[in-house]
Symmetry: C2
Subunit: 329 residues, 2 copies
């Protein structure tokens, strides 16, 4: 198996991406091709000890910055690490692609270069979030901000295939993110998506409200990309704000400081449990290839976990499962 890693993507690229890729190659014994500007990659490969049999460089002369407009940058920079890397997947020279770079650009390039799976009209970004009962998968968190109701049904079918075959949980429960539980709630768009999901063979549990996003009420939560993106980013922000509040309180009195000393083990374990980077990257479902998207802030450990995720998707042949599921219903 060979996994393409966009060495130039992410807030701390290329160094942390290379470091994470080396860890992944060592731990999982998989081939990794780092795509990017060779003379920016080589110094870091020399800095770390790396398994030469498993790591190689594939040159790409351009870099898409995090803040560049997605579609425009993909059209203009044809030699970007994102486009070059995805073309290697298209040509079947590698099995999966990972980038922690500009998410919009990855979505756009993957759609253009790889194309869509049969009977899927739009890609969706799926991400695992920790819940009180384990974890749930939210799709879409920002690939498609103007979806049709039918796209939400397709997200449901793809996520169902992912759950059944990778997580080995048949008939996962599916909820539609909405402002109320009753079928009559929400916009016309939400009502139509509700209708389509109800009529499908999926295990549709109806609408779920924002308050149930982390309760573990459903295995899969379907959302339009605009709402899903805001819900996810609000969550990340709130978790950080609560930490900051908590630390401020801890420092505000002596009992707090003593308590904090006793709690350091619990706190770091908790942080690990709610840290998105532990869950690896997000899946770009619907495109004709395995694509994993990392958070811009990914550290080496997050890169390693995301590469592990790509490896699993390839091993379990997720896209073949999705095609079968969608063909069936």
């Amino acid at each position: 198996m060979k996994i393409i890693v966009d060495a130039m993507g992410g807030d701390w690229a290329p160094e942390v991406v290379i470091s994470g890729a080396i860890k992944a190659a060592q731990e999982y014994k998989i081939n990794i091709e780092l795509v990017g500007i060779p003379n920016q990659i080589e110094p870091f490969l020399l800095k770390y000890k790396y398994p030469k049999d498993y790591i190689s460089i594939y040159p790409a002369s351009e870099v898409i910055q995090m803040s560049e407009p997605a579609a425009l940058s993909i059209r203009k920079k044809r030699e970007s690490s994102i486009s070059v890397g995805l073309n290697l997947i298209k040509e079947r020279k590698a099995d999966a692609f990972f980038s922690a770079g500009n998410t919009g650009a990855v979505v756009c390039a993957a759609t253009l270069i790889l194309g869509m799976l049969p009977r899927v009209e739009r890609p969706g970004i799926a991400i695992n979030v920790p819940t009180l009962k384990g974890s749930s998968l939210i799709i879409d968190v920002g690939a498609n901000i103007n979806p049709k109701p039918l796209h939400l049904l397709q997200y449901g079918l793809m996520a169902d295939a992912y759950f059944c075959h990778i997580l080995n949980k048949p008939r996962p429960s599916i909820g539609l993110l909405n402002i109320g539980e009753e079928a009559s709630k929400g916009t016309g768009f939400a009502k139509e998506a509700h209708h389509l999901l109800s009529e499908s063979h999926l295990n549709f549990a109806g609408n779920i409200e924002g308050k149930d996003l982390f309760s573990g009420k459903c295995d899969i939560i379907i959302s339009d990309g605009f709402v899903g993106n805001i819900a996810l980013k609000v969550s990340e922000s709130l978790a950080e704000t609560l930490y900051a509040f908590f630390h401020r309180h801890l420092k505000s009195n002596l009992l707090g400081m003593i308590g904090a000393a006793f709690l350091s083990v619990s706190l770091s374990r908790l942080k690990k449990q709610i840290d998105y980077s532990e869950y690896g990257g997000a899946l770009l479902l619907g495109v004709n290839g395995v694509v994993i998207i990392g958070h811009g802030r990914s550290d080496a450990s997050a890169v390693k976990n995301a590469i592990c995720r790509a490896k699993e998707e390839v091993e379990y042949r997720v896209n073949e499962r999705i095609i079968e599921t969608i063909r069936g219903g």
Copy 2:
């Protein structure tokens, strides 16, 4: 001043509502009229010691349940505590209305009975959220789920007036909740709202992302009601989930248990700081009268704080300020 309190609204009505109303009357020396079914209110008034000069009952024979469809219930139950109470405001027999009941029904009845302020087309629910720098006001969190871009401009103007005159902060900064910071980001709707806000005299800081909802980056955050509702409920849920995670970890080992004992003061202070009920109810801005909406789960203290908020809105003549602001720009 007289404030109308919907005695029948809320998950623990009428008891906690009555208890909160009594606390408010005692603390603020204001007249409160409890609207609802007299023989369901009287036993609780007898149970608590209450200031007879300040508390009275106004009969209403019907109750709208929390889960009833909003518009339909308002049309069918003309003698509901919500409609009867709002009619007292319309007839200028009282100064403000508070309910912790069915939010949709309160919004619908307030719009129908009180009508809108001049040049305001739709009401918006505004709620204070704690941030790292103090607090921000988010509008709309669910009154209007199919807004036009112009409604979002009107929310900005109303929230600006509220900030200037009640919070005494001139030229509050205003952000538009969107999926990216650049003006080109988001749906056509978001781009048009961005344009209208940019052209106004408001102190518009541009788009803000979900990750900045709790950072205190803007004083006021404008959102369509669907997205705002989900963002708010996701936040409530996540805060609760993090507490649950934390407590589970605390109990998982001896050091955690010892640490928790030392931390109890910090934890309860933190909880108070992020607890919505401490901030009182939400403001229903745009209707021709002072209306405060409480969380269904409001306890007596939340009811008291919400009544205090109603009192302030009346004292500072918020609606007159809004009319002036909107006339000006």
